[in-house]
Structures are given as structure tokens and as C-alpha cells.
């Protein structure tokens, strides 16, 4: 190895470059996911992977808001629930077809995200977390107590789609890949710089001329819309919506995926969504211990490996190249 660094700043990897590397890694991971059905035809495990993709969308959306923009919301599962109920209620009461219902779910959850984002604009850290947590619990209680409309905890039947499990698998994968591409295009643009600047120091970002109000609100809106889309798809897949979609335990699972995968990285949370969810299915036989395991993992990763599995993988590759 030579010691001299050639051009100034040659070792510096721009945010845009970093994002591109992560995007490519995420695409490779998605290609592998696309090949899995060649070897796995068991509908149970296909179902597990479909739910993993549901969580991957949620973890990706939450990561945009919390990992990049630094807005630690505790309501990602709530927006999935809002999206699911939007299409569920529209279908039940107005016979709206699923595709339109899903589109409406994106809009409605995005709008609710926008309103929540504006409401919590000045809150930081624990205050933001607690306010979004209260919002999440209030929404869930409203859904479970408005029995006349939502049928409460009994759940609301939702129309399915006339497609088989394998088609569902690739539908979820397609949506996941489209969102991945959208997030990549967004983060590779100046928006990626601005969101991270807001995360690191809001005052410094404003001083530099970043429109903090706009970008924070945009992050809330996009993140909520992505979650709403995931929830609406899931509703038609499961053919049922219950308030359980918005349980804080669901948010906990989403959080642990993003933290273990690597917050503020494009690939980490997506890949970790599969690992964590599949692992949680395996651990199901052991009983209630899975949450203990994930909680411990989250604490360990948050404390010692801030870039999560993605950071560890990056370090491993660097060591391997130097050897």
C-alpha cells in the first residue's frame, strides 16, 4: 500500500457516492429475494417473506424520516394502519376497487403525515418521540373503539385480489423496488444532503439556507405515504384490517429492523427487515423470547454499531481489501 494520497480529498466519499453504493447493494439483495421462490415453494414461508417485504417498506420509510432526517417518530406502524383502513373502509362502504383504494391510502396517510409533521415541527428528541407515540396510541384506540364503522378489534374484512401467493410475492417485491429507486433518486439529489444536515444541526442547516420547515415536512409526508402504501397492500393481501396493525410492538419491530440494519443507510434496513422478520418466525416456537432478543440486539447495535449490519459489512470489505 502506498501512503501518499493522490488528489486532495481523493479518499472522501460524497454522500451521493455513498448512496449509490448502498443502492447497488440493495438492488443485489432484492435480486436475491426475487430468486428465492425458485427454491422455496412452501406457501407458509412465501407468506413470511411477503410480510418481510411489508416490513421492509415500513423500515425503509421510517429510515428516511429517522435515519436521514433525524426525526425519531414512533408512529410508522400507525401510518400503515391508516393506509389499511383507508382502502378497507372505502371498499366496504363505497365499493371502491382495491387499486383506487390503495392510491387513496397513499394520499390519506401522506396527508395525515403532513399534518403530524407540521404539528411536531418544533419538537426534538424525546418530546418528538413521545408526541408521535401518543398520536400512534390515540389513532389505534380510535380505530378499535369506533366499532360501528371499523368493527373494532373484530377487524374489517377487505377484498382480496384475484392473484395467487406467488403473484403477491412479486407484487410486493415490485413495490419495494420502486420505492427503493424513488428513495435513491431523492437521497442522491440535494434532498439527501439537506435531510442529513437537518439531522446533524438544525440551526446550522437554517444558517446555510436550507428550508428546514419544507424538508422536515416533506420527510414526514413521504415516510407516512410509503407506510400507508405498505399497509394498504397488506390489507388486501391479508383480506383483513385490525387495529393490531398499529400496535406499538409493530413499531418496535420496524425500529429494530432499521437500527440493526443501519439507520441512515439505504440498504441496511431493507435487508435487516428480512433477517429480523424471518428470525422472529423461527423464534416463534421458543415463545415470547423473540422480543427480548430483538430488544437486546437493538441496544447493542445502537450503542456499539451505529451504522448497523451495513456498517459492519462495510468495515469487513475494507479489511478484506487491505489484506
Amino acid at each position: 500500500m502506498t501512503q501518499a494520497s493522490p488528489a486532495p480529498a481523493a479518499g472522501a466519499q460524497l454522500t451521493t457516492t455513498k448512496t449509490t453504493v448502498e443502492f447497488r447493494a440493495a438492488l443485489v439483495a432484492m435480486a436475491i429475494v426475487a430468486l428465492i421462490p425458485l427454491g422455496v415453494s412452501n406457501p407458509y414461508w412465501l407468506g413470511v417473506l411477503i410480510v418481510s417485504m411489508y416490513f421492509a417498506i415500513l423500515a425503509g420509510g421510517w429510515n428516511l424520516l429517522a435515519g436521514y432526517a433525524g426525526q425519531f417518530s414512533l408512529a410508522p406502524a400507525t401510518f400503515a394502519m391508516i393506509g389499511a383502513y383507508t382502502t378497507g373502509l372505502l371498499g366496504t362502504y363505497y365499493n371502491v376497487p382495491p387499486l383506487l383504494g390503495i392510491a387513496a391510502a397513499i394520499v390519506v396517510s401522506g396527508l395525515v403525515g403532513l399534518v403530524l409533521g407540521r404539528a411536531v415541527l418544533r419538537l426534538v428528541g424525546p418530546y418528538l418521540a413521545l408526541t408521535t407515540l401518543s398520536f400512534a396510541e390515540i389513532m389505534r384506540l380510535v380505530a378499535s373503539n369506533t366499532i360501528d364503522i371499523t368493527r373494532g378489534d373484530l377487524g374489517l374484512g377487505v377484498a382480496g385480489l384475484p392473484i395467487g401467493r406467488l403473484a403477491w410475492y412479486y407484487l410486493f417485491l415490485a413495490v419495494l423496488v420502486v420505492l427503493l429507486i424513488l428513495f435513491y433518486l431523492l437521497l442522491r439529489s440535494k434532498a439527501g444532503l439537506f435531510l442529513q444536515a437537518i439531522r446533524d444541526d438544525e440551526v446550522a442547516a437554517r444558517r446555510a439556507g436550507v428550508d428546514v420547515v419544507f424538508w422536515k415536512t416533506a420527510a414526514f409526508t413521504l415516510s407516512a405515504a410509503a407506510s400507508g402504501l405498505a399497509g394498504a397492500l397488506y390489507a388486501h393481501f391479508a383480506e383483513l384490517v385490525t387495529p393490531e396493525l398499529g400496535l406499538i410492538a409493530q413499531t418496535g419491530l420496524i425500529l429494530s429492523m432499521a437500527v440493526i440494519g443501519g439507520m441512515g443507510t439505504l440498504a441496511g434496513p431493507l435487508v435487516a427487515a428480512f433477517l429480523v422478520y424471518v428470525l422472529s418466525e423461527w423464534l416463534r416456537d421458543v415463545g415470547g423470547y423473540q422480543l427480548v432478543v430483538f430488544a437486546a440486539l437493538v441496544v447493542i447495535f445502537a450503542r456499539f454499531f451505529r451504522e448497523g449490519l451495513w456498517g459492519l459489512a462495510k468495515a469487513a470489505v475494507r479489511r478484506w481489501r487491505q489484506a
Binding site: 454522500t15 444532503l193 442529513q196 444536515a197 440551526v203
Partner: protein
């Protein structure tokens, strides 16, 4: 030509008048020192000028257009750039990305922003650390980086709050040279500093504040020899 005009600006925090009916004009290409003992209202005045605080009374004109009540981001677009006494950088972003944020936010395209970032990095001698996250820099290097952020798009006026405080002498020299070079090209500055030798050397004109009010606004030599200024620093009317 008057670039910045401060007329009767007043700011009260409860019973304390932090800035008391302050008025002065800054001409284009001036480098004005703003001095005064601790608690005399210098930073509060800078906060008002940079949009982080709002004045209770008075008006501020930038290029003959009112600019009081604007947010920091709006003022950044109008060309008011503030450097903080407690350095503010984007700690988990590398040096180049820190500069790119300001460049892109102020309307440069990626290529232009990158070119300027590299030019500033070598001017501020940050080449060796350009790949590091800002949080890994030394205090002085962070200050230099903040200079760079403020000058990605040269502002109409730069407000520097104690840039030399607690900084390694070498860094201090780089900063001094940077300010001199920019001033020679016509850049306008307000420089808050406790470092009198530096103020004497850099600033032809100085404004001294005490207890929120302007004590004297004159050529720097004259200001430093003024009895009221000496009294303000030595606390003549304290207690």
C-alpha cells in the same frame, strides 16, 4: 453605499434590556469590529441580525430593504451569513458534504458547488481532513470549515462571532489571512471579538457596546483609547 442599516433596535428579556436602541450603518466592503465586555449584547445583536431572535423595536435594512423578522434561511438567501461562537457544523457528514449543503441550498448546481468546495478546502488548508466527518475535526479545523460553509456563496455581509476564541495560533493565522484576503476583494464583515490586537489589526472601524447600548462608534484606535470604553471593560459603574 450603505449595505446594512440598523435603526433603533431594541431587545428585552423580561426586565433586562439586552440590546438598547442600537443604531449604526455599515458601508459595503467595510470590516467593522464589534467589541464590548461580556453581556454587553453583542451576540444578541448578531442573533437579531441573523434572524435567530426578533427585535422588540427598531428596523434593519439590508440593501435598503427591510430584513427584520426574516428567518435565518431567508436571510441566508438574502446574503446574511452568521458564524457562531460555538462552532456549528454537520458532525456526521464529511467536510466536502458540509460545504455542499450550503452551496446547494443557496442555488448552486452540484458541479459548481463541488468546484467551489475544493477551492475552499485548499484555501482553508483542510485538504488532509477533507474525507473525515466534521465531528472528527479539531476545534480549529471545525471553525475553518464553518468559514468555508459561510463563503460557499460569498454573502453580502458576514457576521463573525468570536472566530478566534480558543483556536490554535496556526488556525488563527489561516483565519486572519482568509478574512484579510476576502476584505481586500470587497467583502463586508462584522467581527465580534475579544482579541483586541486582532481587532486593531483587522478592523479600521469599531463599535463598542456596553449594557446593550452603543458606547462609541469610531476608528478603532480612537475607540480603544476612549475613557468610556476603558471604564466599560474595567467595570467602572458596576455594583
Amino acid at each position: 453605499m450603505t449595505l446594512l442599516s440598523v435603526n433603533g433596535v431594541t431587545k428585552r428579556y423580561g426586565g433586562l434590556t439586552a440590546v438598547d436602541d442600537v443604531s449604526f450603518d455599515i458601508m459595503a466592503s467595510e470590516l467593522v469590529g464589534l467589541i464590548g465586555p461580556n453581556g454587553s449584547g453583542k451576540t444578541t445583536l448578531l442573533n437579531i441580525l441573523s434572524g435567530l431572535a426578533t427585535a422588540d423595536a427598531g428596523e434593519i435594512l439590508l440593501d435598503d430593504t427591510p430584513c427584520h423578522g426574516l428567518t435565518p434561511e431567508q436571510l441566508a438567501h438574502r446574503g446574511v451569513m452568521r458564524m457562531f461562537q460555538l462552532t456549528r457544523v454537520f458532525r456526521r457528514m464529511n467536510v466536502i458534504d458540509n460545504l455542499l449543503v450550503a452551496g446547494r441550498a443557496l442555488g448552486l448546481d452540484h458541479g459548481e458547488a463541488l468546484t467551489r468546495a475544493h477551492a475552499l478546502i485548499s484555501e482553508l488548508r483542510l485538504d488532509a481532513v477533507a474525507a473525515l466527518d466534521a465531528g472528527q475535526l479539531s476545534g480549529g479545523q471545525m471553525k475553518l470549515l464553518e468559514f468555508g460553509v459561510c463563503f460557499m456563496v460569498p454573502p453580502r455581509i458576514a457576521l463573525l462571532d468570536e472566530p478566534f476564541a480558543a483556536v490554535h495560533p496556526t488556525m488563527k493565522e489561516i483565519m486572519g489571512a482568509f478574512i484579510r484576503a476576502r476584505h481586500a476583494k470587497g467583502q463586508t464583515f462584522i467581527l465580534v471579538s475579544h482579541d483586541m490586537p486582532v481587532v486593531v489589526e483587522l478592523c479600521p472601524r469599531a463599535i463598542c457596546m456596553n449594557a446593550g447600548a452603543v458606547v462609541i462608534d469610531a476608528p478603532t484606535r480612537e475607540v480603544l483609547n476612549d475613557a468610556r470604553v476603558i471604564e466599560a471593560y474595567l467595570g467602572g459603574h458596576a455594583a
